[in-house]
């Protein structure tokens, strides 16, 4: 179902316009060279009409060349620093063309994610996605990002609020910033939401992803409800989202507390395969996933200053939590088996 946007690197040239300087030799140079070589109509016109349909092999060649040209131009822009990041360090080109495509096989082939209720996410303007957290590592968050980008008609990017630890880690923190995520704090949440972005929060945090297998699909405490006040201040809808399948990818049977403390981690998971099988133990079990974006809770109706009413915050937090919990039970009832 994602065939339309799987072509990496150059596929997005048709989806959104890209700034190119007139001095840029690559796109002009490529068809010029190809002219003498043969498959010129292909490279000159990316959408061949039915009348001038060339042989299939020629089309493949043209396609390959276009891909190559796109890929090389991408690498050149990277080498020259010719790309843009926003105030959060979000690199849209890299995310759309490299990071999400890297996750896509995991999403499509391994977890075979089924998405429900994607229409509950608005096509423009801010929205706050609040979801349950599970699965030892935050793969559920990454899969939600792919779901929103691939299946939402507006191809929306999910901007997540992550734990401090994520941004202190080498490589991980850098990638998280590039992919558009930021530290979970109210100023950043409000800035993103009022800037019209879709923001994702997993309020259970480490309590959620690090919980033992026996407690699967039981929502943990929902932080301090800071996400509710951020949504209220920015006047954006809250979308309770339920993710089923992530609990089974790395079932946590035990927690090596001493090792976790030594390594400075919130927990050190012991699963049936990790760390016993070494790197092989890091392969997630191929459970079948469902992500349901629920009915939005609108916040426009609340009066000015409602975000400073702690009772209202607690009530709204509970409402979101209950909605997610009930949807989880409903999805679990409908599910035929963990793996299919």
């Amino acid at each position: 179902m994602t065939d339309a946007q799987v072509i990496p690197l150059d596929g997005d040239g048709e989806r959104r316009p890209r700034r190119k300087s007139p001095a840029d030799p690559a796109p002009q140079g490529a068809p010029g060279e190809a002219d003498t070589a043969g498959p010129a109509p292909e490279t000159d016109d990316p959408t061949p009409t039915a009348g001038s349909e060339p042989a299939a092999s020629e089309r493949e060649v043209g396609d390959f060349e276009r891909k190559l040209a796109g890929g090389l131009a991408f690498i050149r822009r990277r080498l020259e620093g010719d790309y843009e990041v926003d105030d959060f360090g979000f690199d849209e080109e890299l995310t759309s063309d490299v990071l999400v495509p890297m996750l896509r096989p995991l999403y499509d082939k391994w977890f075979r994610v089924d998405v429900h209720g994607i229409e509950n996410v608005p096509s423009e303007g801010g929205a706050l996605i609040v979801a349950n957290h599970s699965g030892t590592v935050a793969l559920d968050a990454l899969m939600t990002q792919v779901a929103l980008f691939d299946h939402h008609p507006a191809h929306r990017h999910l901007r997540m609020l992550g734990a401090d630890l994520v941004f202190a880690l080498p490589f991980v923190g850098q990638l998280a910033r590039r992919a558009g995520h930021t530290v979970a704090c109210n100023p950043d949440a409000e800035r993103l939401l009022s800037g019209g972005e879709v923001v994702g929060v997993w309020p259970e945090g480490f309590k959620g992803i690090g919980k033992p297998y026996a407690e699967r699909y039981k929502l943990q405490r929902f932080g301090r409800g800071g996400f509710v006040s951020a949504a209220l201040r920015a006047r954006v809808p809250i979308i309770p989202t339920s993710i089923v399948g992530a609990e089974e990818i790395y079932p946590i049977l035990g927690n090596a507390r001493l090792l976790a403390r030594v390594l400075g981690l919130p927990y050190f998971p012991l699963t049936p395969t990790f760390p016993w099988l070494g790197p092989l133990g890091a392969v997630p079990l191929p459970s079948k996933w469902h992500i349901e974006f629920g009915e939005p809770i609108h916040t426009e109706a609340f009066v000015e200053g409602a975000a400073d009413d702690p009772m209202l915050m607690f009530n709204l937090t509970d409402q979101v939590r209950e909605t997610i919990q009930h949807t989880l039970y409903k999805l679990l009832m409908q599910r035929r088996s963990v793996f299919f």
Binding site: P25, A26, G29, A30, E33, A34, T36, A37, G38, P39, S57, E58, V61, F64, E65, L68, A69, L72, A73, I75, R76, R78, L79, E80, G81, D82, Y83, E84, V85, D86, D87, F88, G89, D91, D164, F167, A168, L169, P170, F171, G173, Q174, R177, R178, T182, V183, C185, P187, D188, R191
Partner: protein, 344 residues
Amino acid sequence: MSRVVLVTGVSQYLGSRLARSLRAEPGVERVVGVDVVPPQDDLGDVEFVRADIRNPVIAKVINAAEIDTVVHMNVIATPVGAGGRTSMKEINVIGTMQLLAACQKASSVQRLVVKSSTTVYGVSPKDPALFTEDMEPRRLPRTGFAKDSVEVEGYVRGFARRRPDVRVTMLRFANVFGPAITTPLTKYFSLPVVPTVMGFDSRIQVVHEDDALAALRACAVGEHNGTFNVAGDGHLMLSQAIAKAGRVNLPLLPPFASVARDIVRRAGLIDFSPEQVEFLKYGRGVDTAKMREVLRFEPAYTTAETFDSFARLHQLGRVVPVDAVRLVERELLSVAGRVSGGSS
């Protein structure tokens, strides 16, 4: 009313340019510049007084000239020119204390503009993406220039409380950058091979030297009050900035990164404080809404444009030539074209 302006730190690049441009401003009668070393540039009509702001002599200068506007630019960022960290701290902290003490006694003083820095927000992985003026640092700076800046700001706030009749403006500048100025960051990007910390890529936000001057000038002659972040629009990633300058990015494992810092420092190339290494790991961004809305100041250059103006001037030092990259790209494409052409 014609004004008499005192500029401290006038022998430095920004100080001397500011003093000269203030002198050209209508309504400014006199500009007095003070510094411990004589200026290298021609100061023109600016009166230079060789004085140390750490010394009570500064009070005499203020009284004698009946100064009404003080622009304090003498908070220095590196110990190299100052003769060591101890001396740098003295110039920054004791110098500011003496200057403010003199201002407090001088009834002629009506306006104080202080050049501060966004380093007061510290650096940590927990930082919000953008700091507004009213945010506290997540991790207080503990060393060097950043710590001095925090202390200087503290004394300036104290002064503002004691002399409520004086308009006090503090401008927190992002790294001042540009084709002419020399700072640790410009030196860093001038290295042919730029060492970075492996696994980290920070957001960099800079302000063009011309914009920094324009903001200082606007505050010196204007009627503003308060603390403002001043920075160019947008961000660059560190690796992106290195690529734009045509330098080679050399990611080092953290222990080697501090060794590299030591070597560069000992060689007298760049004086990098531990704080600056943290800055290169996590970066920092500031919100400039208040600068636009209250100060009504619009920078002429974005961060990327500032960086390009710097990179253009340093073209000669490019290690990664633009033409070669494009040539390789064209060659690869033509080879691919020929191969596929032959096969079909």
